[in-house]
């Protein structure tokens, strides 16, 4: 592993080597611009294209479907072609900005480096919303993505009998992957109603190939006798030291489990995904202007048509700026690169407009399709009622719902004061996980607007760094 070597003059720096970041780097390289990609993982590709960390005999992960595998290899080939212009640092953690403008602090190989940039592209993707419910901290209960990661990257099998609950097409994809990995899939419990899906068929027709993909997954699950239940969801997970039973129930229109209709399922693993949150800690820490998009990943940076944020030379694209999935991220990565080509005077606006016209057409179609799904899959208020008083909400600081209720009863009505009084969001993750639930819960219980609830300001460092690495005396 090499230490970060600082370029002679600052160049564009891209945070995140997923579909958005890779396309940004490639597009810049195609126009003669060198860039640096910082990626926190051992391998590029982001959550969608991640290659297995251990080589299998086939040389690729057996659970990446063929189409995704092709997309991944196409983009990595392009990257290879431009390797003289793209420097990649793996396992690099961006800690955030300190006093110097146009520089970020990066932890890499136990060293902290202040990296100056000429432009910054924040393509940090998203993470799964964490959804507290009784028993969600039991071993055996995981996020869908976490379980996929185990299956995809490490080639371990998390359990024998798995239940999937949550919402969105990821559940279907994951169910197939888990089945292919040799797990018995007890059932998929999709919170959205089937009727809502039918209503969105016109939107879903916007992208026939994607719709076809979805139907293919459904057909596959049917063929393997894996039941998909619409309008059902999680109630609680049970077990002594680890998961042994999952309780599900039909959800009403607000996604509140219906009383008296609980159903117990024997399982040793439970995969849960109730949507995604855009990863905006860095744009927030940089002080970019943000807004709140409840169905699109929560708090995201405000951008223009070229993905410029409110801060000069800082851009953001892909799921980091609203959840639209990997196809959209690939296109946005290219568009934001053109934005920078305009801003740095390499091509003019009309040239960029012409080149990007087909990209934007494609984008429009993809986004229309995604909107169809988002209507089905927008998390609803009933989910806030799942935790019991003794359910842990903030896992870092071990804060139970009853403590939050007490603070609300004592008159607390914004997230900062809630943090000070209960320590929610004061842990290592800085509220990345529980922040969304806490904000929505506060808003519901105090009948306040999101602007009044506020948000937790991410602090430097965005991920932990040792004292010795920061002091520069570290091994």
């Amino acid at each position: 592993m090499q230490q970060i070597s600082l370029p002679v003059t600052p160049c564009p720096v891209i945070i995140g080597g997923g579909p958005a970041g890779l396309n940004t780097a490639i597009t810049l390289a195609e126009h003669g611009i060198s860039s640096i990609i910082l990626d926190e993982n051992p391998a590029l590709g982001g959550a969608i294209f991640r290659q297995p960390s251990k080589k299998t005999q086939q040389g690729h992960s057996p659970v990446l479907d063929e189409k995704t595998r092709d997309r991944a290899s196409r983009i990595l080939e392009k990257l290879d072609k431009h390797s003289d212009k793209i420097t990649v640092y793996h396992r690099a953690q961006v800690l955030g900005q300190l006093s110097a403008d146009n520089a970020i602090m990066v932890l890499h190989d136990h060293h902290v480096t202040e990296l100056h940039y000429s432009a910054l592209f924040i393509c940090t993707g998203c993470y799964e919303r964490s959804q507290p419910f009784p028993g969600w901290t039991l071993p055996g209960v995981m996020s869908v993505g976490g379980m996929q990661l185990q299956v995809k990257s490490n080639l371990v099998r998390p359990g024998d009998r798995v239940v999937l609950t949550g919402t969105g097409p990821l559940l279907l994809v994951a169910a197939q992957q888990f089945h292919d990995a040799g797990m018995q899939v007890v059932g998929v419990y999709e919170a959205g109603q089937k009727m809502d899906l039918y209503k969105e068929i016109p939107a879903l027709l916007a992208d026939m190939p994607l719709l076809f993909d979805g139907l293919k997954y459904l057909a596959y699950l049917k063929q393997k006798n894996i039941p998909v239940h619409y309008g059902w969801g999680i109630v609680k997970a049970k077990g002594e030291d680890e998961l042994s039973e999952v309780i599900v129930a039909p959800y009403d229109n607000a996604w509140q489990p219906m009383a008296g209709k609980h159903k117990a399922l024997k399982a040793d693993s439970l995969a849960v995904n109730y949507g995604f949150t855009s990863r905006t800690q860095l744009t927030q820490q940089l002080g970019c202007t943000h807004h709140y998009q409840p169905n699109r990943g929560g708090v995201t940076a405000e951008i223009d048509e070229w993905h410029r944020t409110s801060r000069d030379m800082v851009y953001t694209a892909g799921d980091a700026n609203g959840i639209y999935g990997s196809y959209v991220a690939e296109v946005e990565g290219q568009i934001t690169a053109f934005g920078h080509l305009i801003d740095s005077g390499i091509i003019n606006q009309s040239h960029a407009n012409l080149t990007c016209a087909p990209l934007r057409n494609n984008l429009q179609r993809l986004i229309k399709f995604q909107h169809g799904f988002s209507k089905l899959s927008t998390p609803k208020e009933g989910l806030l009622s799942l935790p019991d008083p003794d359910t842990v909400i903030c896992r870092c600081e071990n804060v139970m719902r009853s403590k939050i209720d007490l603070a609300i009863a004592q008159g607390i009505g914004d997230i900062t004061k809630l943090k000070m009084a209960t320590r929610v969001g004061m842990g290592d993750c800085q509220g990345k996980n529980c922040g969304d639930f806490c904000r929505n819960y506060l808003a519901q219980k105090t009948a306040r607007k999101h602007e009044e609830i506020g948000r937790l300001n991410p602090r430097f460092p965005l991920s932990p760094v040792t004292f010795s690495a920061f002091a520069g005396t570290g091994e």
Binding site: D414, A421, T473
Partner: protein
């Protein structure tokens, strides 16, 4: 404009405003309205929670970066003058004020656990000044000589005694001087405890709201307006606006010399207990809090209302912490932040009335010691409103002192401090 009437308006919901609200609501049946706007850098939210009446009075603790110990100057410049430093000692009136306040904590802790059901985690720790060399020892000796009345509150330890007491402290430390009455609390929970106590006593909290105008009539404050189009007629207006107190003063055309003094702080991941006392060195202070996090502070910077972190300053705190507690080297830094102390030119608070303005009281300028002096400040302001005798003579803390031609500033708010 929505008009309301109240007896008292308090500007500021930090530890001082909340303490005033709590004490005054406990002692009276007056109607009290507290107006608060959360701003980046609120000192109470950034505080380490040290109750260090002696430490702060002799220039240690939060004030340690104020001046450089001789050993530190020699490290930086071998030709530095060799005469020992004089500790930066605040006047006896301040020491007295903060010691009396400190003594109020045990009873206040019980009272607020009962009244507000909030435990602000009072911990008896003591504050140790670590000595690395003879220069540090000579400096500690001078501290002792400056406070002869408190000899029984100090404890000297040689290297061996120190290590029996504090296993993880560096073997490079040759001893320590402990200030026995200096303890710690959880500052956020202290604010919360006052707040809940005040609400239970009927105080009305107007949050996310800023005081925008102070209405005067014949040199008397008659009402306060907010940026939310509210007007509160009142008989007394109390300025507890922390680093923003000067802006409130401007609304009444008085120049209250309070300005933000930035301090950066670092906190570690949670650890099992690695220290019994709070520690001050000539580089930084270190305190392990009730939840296991180790908190390291703090810089003293004049940067206006800027609250950005900066690499060299944080790095110097980190180095100072590793020097004192080498075990921290392998520990993770969890967060950093900065707060804006409400600095005053003589480092003393500004309390009580201003000549020529009726219906107005200062409760500001608490600089590094708002947490420890919050109980006595709350009591003093309550007594002043109710016309009672205050527990101490507040003459040295009156605004009037700045108008004295002989007034001398010890702290220059305009220029950068070394």
């Amino acid at each position: 404009m929505e008009k309301q009437t109240t007896d008292i308006v308090i500007a500021g919901g930090g530890v001082i405003g909340m303490a005033v609200a709590y004490f005054l609501s406990k002692d009276s049946n007056l109607s009290i309205t507290l107006i608060d706007q959360k701003k980046p850098g609120n000192a109470s939210w950034a505080s380490a929670g040290g109750l260090w009446p002696i430490g702060e009075s002799v220039g240690l603790g939060c004030g340690v970066i104020f001046f450089k110990s001789l050993s530190k100057r020699r490290r930086e410049n071998p030709d530095a003058p060799t005469e020992p430093d004089h500790p930066h000692q605040l006047p006896d009136c301040f020491l007295n004020y903060s010691l009396i306040s400190n003594n109020m904590f045990p009873a206040l802790w019980d009272e607020l656990k009962e009244q507000a059901q909030v435990d602000f985690k009072f911990e008896r720790t003591g504050l140790k000044f670590l000595m690395y060399d003879d220069d540090d020892a000579a400096y500690a000796k001078q501290i002792q000589e400056g406070i002869p009345q408190l000899h029984d509150q100090l404890k000297w330890q040689d290297q061996q005694q120190l290590h029996e007491d504090e296993y993880y402290v560096s073997k490079d430390a040759i001893g320590a001087l402990t200030f026995l009455p200096d303890h710690q609390v959880n500052p956020y929970l202290l604010v919360q405890a006052y707040r809940v106590g005040a609400i239970r006593n009927g105080v009305k909290m107007i949050e996310n709201t800023e005081v925008s105008e102070v209405i005067m009539h014949h040199n008397r404050v008659t009402a306060v307006r907010t940026n939310q189009q509210q007007e509160f007629s009142c008989s007394t207006f109390i300025n507890a606006a922390g680093a923003w107190a000067g802006q409130i003063g401007n609304m009444m055309d008085i120049n209250i010399p309070v300005a933000p003094v930035k301090g950066q702080v670092i906190v570690s991941e949670r650890l099992p207990p690695i220290m019994k006392s709070c520690i001050s060195t000539s580089d930084c202070y270190i305190a392990q809090k009730d939840n296991g996090e180790v908190l390291i502070g703090s810089t003293t910077e004049i940067k206006g209302f800027d609250t950005n972190g900066s690499y060299p300053e944080l790095q110097s705190l980190v180095k100072g912490a590793i020097k004192a507690l080498p075990i921290l080297g392998s520990v993770a830094i969890k967060r950093t932040w900065s707060g804006l102390r409400p600095g005053s030119p003589d480092e003393l608070p500004i309390l009580g009335p201003v000549e020529g303005i009726a219906g107005y009281l200062n409760a500001c300028g608490h600089f590094r010691t708002g947490i420890v002096t919050s109980p006595i400040t709350g009591q003093i302001i309550s007594d002043l409103v109710l016309g009672k005798q205050t527990p101490i003579d507040i003459t040295p803390f009156l605004y009037q002192r700045f108008l004295n031609p002989d007034f001398e500033a010890t702290f220059s708010l305009e220029s950068e401090v070394a």
